[in-house]
């Protein structure tokens, strides 16, 4: 699936690149090649890498990281950022825990409840950004503190450990092919979002508003409302990621995203950026986000098993992010020079 963006006039004028060329030069294809390459290299070197358990664990982590990445992607569309995705994710997961353990709600109600909660927190961010006109970086820097602080204050930093066993069972569930059900959930979400951004009015308005807010405003799009909707979507997706982590852990733990939720920042940016979502907004690469998360996890699992020293993995991830953005910039330059984009 290609990134949803308008074709450039130059491409149309020169007859444009052929579909095959577009596919081969696309970010997604490059990522697929990289993921397969890394997988083959590590699989060849390490006996335990391709074991069913290893693949299952990797797939599960990819599922979780993809959802985190999708959450950030939804707000990058607006050209802004949301530093509070981790805080929203944890808070929603804790809300879920509270609903189930203290209010006795059945899972069928508590899960949508947590998603709505996350969406509300996101909407608060969106509203604050739109009304104040201040950059989303600083608004979400503040809201990250506030959401996390209130959550810790209310829960006294205690985890909800008495969740029904179905929750942990879901985290361990394997589908027929041996893949984690969490990966399947993320895959389904990717498909749903691709459809959303391409075929629904709201989705297309989000892209338009993100690409050029003034032009969109002039053509009748209520950009303010659209941006709030983007932030709400981010919040809901962050909540989904928090729920997935809760399923994997079997408990709603306040430290699941680190202090203030900042541990989610790297995967939240790495996956979409690797996948081709532009930070300037207006363009999403949904499947790219999944591929980006896949690439990061394939490499991380391999490095962990290679006993390079788990302490060097962070540095490697940073270098990967740097290499990804540089390569993307280089790729754009080359392709533009050749008139292919």
């Amino acid at each position: 699936m290609m990134a949803a963006a308008a074709e450039t006039p130059e491409a149309a004028a020169t007859g444009g690149p052929t579909s095959i060329q577009k596919l081969l030069f696309s970010n997604e294809f490059g990522l697929v090649v990289l993921v397969l390459l890394a997988f083959l290299v590590f699989g060849g070197m390490l006996p335990g890498y391709t074991s069913p358990f290893s693949l299952f664990a990797m797939g599960r982590q990819i599922g979780i990281d993809t959802m985190i990445g999708l959450a950030m992607m939804a707000v990058i569309v607006t050209g802004g950022l949301d530093l509070s995705v981790g805080a929203i994710g944890v808070s929603s997961a804790m809300a879920f825990g509270w609903l189930v353990e203290h209010q006795g709600l059945p899972l069928a109600l508590a899960i949508p409840g947590a998603l709505v909660f996350g969406g509300l927190l996101g909407a608060i961010n969106g509203y604050a950004v739109v009304r104040s006109g201040v950059h989303s970086f600083i608004i979400t820097l503040a809201s990250m503190s506030i959401f996390f602080g209130v959550m810790i204050f209310l829960t006294k930093a205690e985890a909800f450990r008495g969740l029904p066993p179905e929750v942990a069972a879901f985290g361990r569930l394997r589908l027929a092919t041996g893949t984690s059900v969490l990966l399947a959930v993320s895959l389904a979400t990717c498909i749903a979002l691709s459809v959303f951004y391409r075929f629904t009015i709201l989705g297309r308005r989000m892209l338009a508003a993100g690409a050029n807010a003034r032009a969109a405003e002039v053509s009748g799009v209520r950009t303010g409302r659209v941006f709030v909707a983007c932030h709400a979507l981010t919040g809901a997706l962050a909540a989904a990621a928090g729920l997935m982590l809760t399923a994997r852990t079997g408990a709603a733990v306040p430290s699941m995203a680190g202090q203030l939720g900042q541990d989610w920042l790297l995967p939240a940016f790495l996956a979409p950026v690797l996948g081709g979502t532009l930070l300037s907004g207006g363009r999403v690469a949904v499947v790219g986000t999944l591929l980006g998360a896949a690439f990061v996890n394939v490499i991380t699992s391999g490095l962990l098993q290679l006993r390079i020293g788990e302490f060097w993995i962070q540095a490697c991830l940073g270098l990967m992010l740097l290499a990804a953005v540089l390569a993307d910039r280089g790729r754009h330059l080359i392709l533009r020079r050749r008139g292919l984009i």
Binding site: A159, A251, L306
Partner: protein, 342 residues
């Protein structure tokens, strides 16, 4: 470029060969995994190495998650399982949250013990071995009260709130104070300061504001013990009595110099050493006795105390021997009361 390739390829090939060889002689491969980086667990590394030497294990490796985060530890454990480790000594990142990954270890043919911190029952971990932190905090507070002359006000500095041991310690200190029927009160508990910067800020702020109103300090976590010892030394105070924990050289020196009254030693070395021993025995056909003298604590009914001892100025120089003595006793106890081998 070739250098890097060689550097990666050689260990990888070696690893493949070794794991192949390990499968051949089905050695016990132990992984000692703390909850995150922390000086307390440093002794596990040496304990593992000594266990390999003394008991002929396939491996006993100390692997540390990069940070105190549950997901990081779970990911490391899963990776170690994929790498062929079959016996795990784990300090749980969370008393309940680590159980699913332990279940996965057991489902895949491995075995695990909770070490230095317990998992909440029901759990597939075989049992939990660690300091009875409640008892240790209780005894330490009692020693502090003795040093204070039986009355006064105590401040309690302790560790991470996400550490399953912290609440046990808070309750134990309170219990010891309650037993004085009002003569001794716990006036403040500062938790979540098991890291240098917050410990420094909070402890100094506290001493600055309330230092004159408090008569004794009990610390039940490594970093606050070090920071409080330094703080008392900095303000030159010998009036406030203090009982610390663990064996950081700063604390031991402060005991010698009179700023700190004593410390509660734990036994990280013994935990790692005897833990590896027990797992190896269990893999080679021994079983746990059904009527073994398990203790209970707030989290689990299958608990073994790895030992604790109060050390004051007169015993400070021989503390290593004290710990070795406890370890020997622990192993002997296991052979006698817990393991039944044919």
């Amino acid at each position: 470029m070739t250098n890097a390739l060689l550097r990666f390829a050689l260990p990888a090939v070696a690893a493949t060969l070794i794991s192949g060889a390990a499968a051949a002689d089905s050695g016990t491969k132990v992984a000692l995994v703390p909850g995150g980086p922390h000086p307390y667990f440093a002794a596990w590394e040496q304990a593992g190495k000594d266990a390999v030497k003394d008991f002929g294990l396939g491996a006993a490796d100390y692997r540390v998650p990069q940070k105190w985060e549950l997901a990081t530890q779970s990911q490391l454990l899963e990776s170690l399982l994929s790498q062929g480790y079959n016996s795990f000594l784990i300090f749980p990142g969370d008393a309940v949250g680590t159980t699913p990954v332990v279940q996965e270890i057991v489902d895949n043919g491995g075995q695990a013990l909770a070490l230095a911190g317990c998992l909440k029952d029901p759990t597939p971990a075989l049992f939990c071995m660690g300091t009875d932190v409640g008892r240790s905090a209780y005894l330490g507070t009692k020693e502090l009260i003795k040093a204070m002359g039986g009355k006064g006000r105590i401040a309690h500095f302790t560790g991470f709130l996400v550490d399953p041991n912290t609440q046990l310690r808070i309750d134990a200190v309170q219990k010891a104070a309650d037993e004085t029927n009002g003569a001794v009160k716990v006036v403040q508990v500062i938790a979540d300061i098991d890291a240098p910067q917050p410990a420094e800020e909070k402890i100094n702020a506290y001493l600055a504001a309330h230092g004159s109103e408090v008569d004794g300090i009990v610390t039940t976590a490594w970093v606050p013990a070090v920071t409080a010892a330094n703080a008392l030394r900095k303000i030159g105070d010998k009036r406030i009595k203090m009982v610390g924990i663990d064996h950081d050289q700063v604390v031991l020196q402060a005991i010698k110099d009179g700023f700190v009254n004593g410390t509660m030693l734990q036994n990280p070395y013994g935990q790692g050493y005897v833990g590896s021993y027990v797992l190896d025995k269990l893999r080679s056909g021994c079983t746990l006795k059904a009527d073994a003298p398990w203790k209970s604590n707030a989290l689990t009914k299958k608990f073994v105390d790895s030992g604790t001892v109060f050390v004051d100025a007169s015993e400070v120089d021989t503390y290593v021997d004290a710990m070795r003595g406890i370890t020997k006793t622990l192993k002997a106890d296991f052979d006698k009361d817990f393991l039944s081998c044919k």
